[in-house]
């Protein structure tokens, strides 16, 4: 089977021993790669109820079969999978750049880390030479600094590095894993899992050839996708970027503002994608193999934050900007840069800070408790001060560094009502009260609050369905988009390139076949997507999550949208949520409790996991 390297690296950080195993072909075909293969490997290598921050929790790094090839965006991804310290269920996060391609050239499809090193270390993969090296020189340093230091130490500037910052070292449950300085496997707190293993970084240099099964047909397919990427499907990403969403969503009154106290930001025009591009975007760069390049590098050219450089996307801009009531773009860029510096998930960090501001304005957290920080909505200085506290776990930051759910549990005083999270993972920038298909997709998302697990938001935002209505049929929309997205994240194609997959499953099946030489039909691929979602569900069930956890933040269900506009009064009631969940479970072939049935597991050839449900 081409495409796959055929090898899995097992790293036991406790003993310092490494072992290379064969990738089972059956697993490759059934779980594709990326998050699918990663979850399968995690499930088979872990015990029920494992503490996410214990040595026994495996951390899996997985690539897709397309990684390392020239297929645009597909060539460059990697995924981290583990048990999330934030949700207690499946944790997974995908990142792009060049790291994944390099690891494939080193000859690995996946790495499974277990155990815990007795002192800070980093893993150095130089093709077949695997070494666990001392990381005491870089401990405490930021991911960008760590990357440069490791390249200098090893004396090769084409080495690729994924590393954690101070937040990961201090096991903050909103810590991420950063590669190539500005790209992050952001969500579900996997930086903390790395930190708990004393694993500071993974450095890779790979020199092998990557060959595909049908090179001539493959190169023609690449050429066609280059053309598609010059067209309308990628136009948004090529021009303004995802930050275009600021004005689009604000107009639809679905941009959560001031911790969901509003769904419309009156100063959106000050933080719009248009203004960001005009005044701050210095350069748009690309990941390896990508023909649509979308990474907008924003540079602050004057003022107190002069010289600050950060990658800006809708989610970090929203979380640290409108969501905190902040309308100063230079401060939002600075805040994003600080998140990268400490290795914090910018989305979760922004939502945690908006929670603090909400608590402060409602008198739940006093000025004294906040260590004198004036945490009012719109205070850009407080935003940056709070990131410093969270990144270093100093003062109030220690309580906030594990995200909103943990913070609210410590604060008490009903503050949980202000904590915008699902399953312990902070929400993304979509007001779920007026996007009810998205609300369902986020409620059932196996990794917690996430608009991208299902991608159902497209139906709401583009007006394909009545976004204010909870009705039967939405379950099927969520199911189908979930299955497709599971494949996208397993082949590891960039979600920003989703629009260029005109024939979604058919395109991806063709790609899989040309690369691997294994005939894959669209239907087989769809089934693989469904299998992956079911495996995720099985993991969550094994770890104790139930239907009760497929829910929405308190405000989304109890505090109707108050802004005058097209969605005033919108809220998701318990009855609506129950209807949507029932509809979704039915579409999935699960019981009313959200448990995959024996028949479903048999249909997907995973009846071996029956006893875990």
């Amino acid at each position: 089977m081409l495409g796959y390297a055929g090898r899995i690296l097992q790293v036991d950080l406790t003993t310092g021993k490494v072992r290379i195993e064969k990738l089972a072909e059956e697993n490759a075909k059934q779980y594709i790669g990326g998050i699918g293969l990663g979850m399968k490997l995690w499930l088979d290598n872990s015990k029920a109820g494992v503490n996410p921050l214990s040595p026994e929790n495996p951390l899996v790094l997985a690539l897709g079969p397309v990684s390392g090839t020239m297929f645009p965006t597909g060539g460059n991804g990697h995924a981290f999978i583990s048990k999330s310290p934030a949700t207690g269920g499946v944790g997974e996060a995908v990142s792009h750049g060049t790291f994944g391609a390099e690891l494939k050239r080193a000859g690995f499809d996946a790495i499974i880390f277990t155990g815990k090193a007795d002192k800070p270390v980093y893993l150095w993969i130089d093709d077949d030479t695997i070494q666990i090296l001392d990381a005491s020189q870089v401990w405490g340093r930021s991911p960008p600094e760590t990357e440069d230091a490791i390249k200098t130490e090893l004396g090769d500037f084409y080495i690729r590095v994924a590393s954690i910052g101070l937040a990961g070292e201090k096991q903050s449950k909103i810590a991420c894993i950063i590669n190539e300085k500005t790209r992050a496997a952001g969500r579900t707190g996997l930086g903390a899992v790395m930190g708990s293993k004393n694993l500071k970084a993974i450095a890779v240099r790979g020199t092998r050839d990557i060959a595909v099964a049908q090179p001539d047909e493959f190169i023609n397919m690449v050429k066609e996708f280059h053309e598609r990427m010059k067209g309308p499907a990628a136009q948004k990403y090529r021009t303004l970027g995802t930050v275009e969403n600021v004005m689009v969503q604000n107009q639809l009154f679905c941009m959560p503002t001031r911790n969901f106290n509003n769904s419309h930001f009156e100063n959106a025009d000050k933080v719009s994608g248009e203004v960001l591009n005009e005044r701050y975007v210095e350069k748009i760069i690309a990941c390896n193999s990508c023909a649509m390049r979308c990474e907008h590098e924003a540079l602050v050219r004057e003022g107190p934050y002069k010289g600050t450089l950060a990658r800006m996307e809708y989610d970090n801009l929203w979380a640290l900007g409108p969501n905190c009531g902040v309308d100063k773009l230079d401060a939002i860029i600075k805040a994003s840069e600080r998140c990268n510096y400490y290795g914090l998930d910018a989305t979760s960090t922004g939502v945690t800070i908006s929670f603090v501001m909400d608590c402060h304005e409602k008198g739940i957290l006093t000025h004294e408790e906040l260590g004198g920080i004036d945490a009012h909505f719109g205070n850009a200085e407080a935003l940056i001060q709070l990131i410093e506290k969270i990144g270093t776990r100093e003062g109030i930051g220690d309580m906030l560094a594990d995200g909103v759910k943990a913070a609210a549990e410590k604060i008490g005083k009903n503050s949980i009502q202000l904590a915008q999270h699902i399953k312990g993972l902070e929400v993304t920038g979509y007001d779920l009260r007026c996007l009810k298909t998205t609300a369902l997709g986020s409620a059932v998302s196996f990794r917690g609050a996430d608009h991208n697990r299902s991608g159902a938001y497209a139906s709401d935002v583009k007006g394909k369905v009545d976004r204010l209505k909870a009705e039967r049929g939405r379950g099927l929309i969520v199911k189908e988009t979930e299955d497709v997205n599971a494949i996208i994240d397993s082949l590891i194609i960039c979600k920003n390139a989703k629009g260029t997959l005109y024939k979604e499953l058919a395109d991806m099946a063709k790609l899989y076949s040309l690369v691997t030489g294994v005939d894959m039909t669209p239907e087989q691929l769809r089934a693989a997507g469904e299998r992956i979602i079911n495996i995720a569900r099985i993991i969550n069930l094994r770890e104790g999550l139930t239907r009760e956890d497929d829910t929405l933040p308190w405000k989304v269900m109890n505090q109707p949208i108050q802004d005058d506009g097209p969605v005033k009064g919108a809220v998701v009631t318990q009855e609506e949520l129950d209807l949507l969940l029932d509809d979704y479970y039915t579409a999935r072939g699960w019981t009313v409790d959200g448990v995959p049935t024996k028949e479903k597991l048999k249909e997907l050839s995973i009846e071996e996991y029956q006893n875990l449900t």
């Binding site: 390392g68 050239r105 084409y158 280059h226 590098e297 450089l309």
Partner: protein
């Protein structure tokens, strides 16, 4: 009679290059049917997030690589200006790699002799990296054309500034 320089080489526009490395894949695939940057005659450098550029042989007028080769394995084609390697003479000593200021000479990981951009002389449609570059950042140019472009850019800027002052 004075003649314009005819030698054309591949030049990357730093304003346009986004560091995607597609040129590397196009080159290694075209030359060796595999995807491997180590077998590409053009290499991408990302100094930081805003400084990206692809670099390959610039067909120097007085190529240091040729002068440095102690075994006379390298020569310059008098017509095209590209660097020609006599594989039998090369022993992979690496003097030429050290001599080249642009990192255009590389030691092949398998054949163990040096290799360098040959402008895809066997391809009727010219250098494949240029053909594939999605940003149109790569061009095949003479040094005269590069100088012309620089001149025009400078003058445009000058007049723009003048207009702004008025």
């Amino acid at each position: 009679m004075v003649k314009l320089h005819q030698r054309k080489f591949i030049s990357a526009d730093p304003e346009k290059c986004v560091g995607c490395q597609i040129c590397e894949y196009a080159c290694s695939f075209n030359k060796e049917k595999v995807f491997n940057p180590l077998k590409s005659r053009i290499r991408v450098v990302r100094v930081n997030q805003t400084a990206n550029m692809a670099v390959t042989c610039r067909l120097c007028e007085d190529p240091a690589c040729v002068a440095a080769c102690p075994r006379d394995a390298l020569s310059q084609d008098p017509t095209t200006g590209s660097i020609v390697l006599d594989k039998d003479k090369c022993n992979g000593c690496g003097w030429c790699i050290e001599a080249c200021d642009y990192g255009a000479m590389m030691l092949h990981p398998e054949t163990k002799v040096v290799y360098v951009c040959d402008l895809c002389k066997d391809k009727p449609d010219g250098p494949q990296c240029v053909k594939w570059c999605p940003e149109e950042a790569l061009t095949v140019v003479t040094s005269d054309v590069l100088a012309q472009k620089a001149r025009i850019g400078a003058i445009k800027k000058l007049f723009q500034e003048k207009e702004e002052k008025q």
